[in-house]
Symmetry: C2
Subunit: 136 residues, 2 copies
């Protein structure tokens, strides 16, 4: 069975396949993650990416991909994709980060935002900002 | 009805709610995105975030959140969350990017990877790398 056929099979059955060649000999790393297991994992609510031009960037994504603007002003925008939201932020206004849905009270003193959501910002060991977010 | 109750209602019905206060008067921006509409949007397969220490970062996420390692070596790792995969990459080995599932042939000349996936890298107007990825 070819590497490609293996890859297709495992992907269709919900697996993660990392196949790569190391020199002449192919090296295989296969990690099965069942769909049922994935449901118990934490959900990433949104990813915030730094941009230099909010409007130009949003227009480019709308032109090139299938997604929808959920919010937009001059300092940031929020695009809705099938499985996640992507925020485009001017870094001086909002830090780049990604947000995980969990009880923020387990991680620190939550800040309650005006829309009723609550969150705590953490830094991972590489200095990336991680928002722990409760939507209600 | 309070802003918080509105927020809860809309989130439970699949809406995106952006509520914020501008000075003393609350200003409301509500964008409904039905779950059925979202299914037609493009899917973000993974997000790749820069790290300085792959192992230390992976260990921190495993300790603090519910997720699973799908792949790990010294230069990058792939964590599986409920709705998305997050890659932690040394920037000199792999560029930070996010990957959208689409036919890459519509965007350029795809490169076929060893696992049979095909992709094209684009740059958005802010210089972010966007991988257009076909898994098979």
């Amino acid at each position: 069975m070819s590497l490609r056929a293996w890859s297709k099979l495992f992907r269709e059955t919900g697996a993660i396949v990392c196949l790569y060649s190391n020199g002449l000999l192919p090296k295989c790393e296969v990690e099965m993650v069942a769909a049922e297991d994935r449901k118990s994992f934490d959900t990433v609510d949104h990813v915030a990416v730094s941009v230099t031009d909010v409007k130009g960037t949003v227009d480019w994504y709308l032109k090139n991909f299938s997604c929808k603007v959920a919010y937009q002003d001059e300092t940031w925008a929020l695009l809705e994709f099938a499985n996640i939201r992507v925020a485009f932020v001017l870094p001086q206004q909002h830090p780049p980060h990604f947000a995980l849905l969990r009880d923020p009270g387990l991680y620190g003193e939550p800040k309650t935002h005006r829309d009723g959501t609550r969150s705590v910002y953490l830094s991972d060991p590489s200095g990336n900002s991680v928002e722990v977010l409760a939507l209600k």
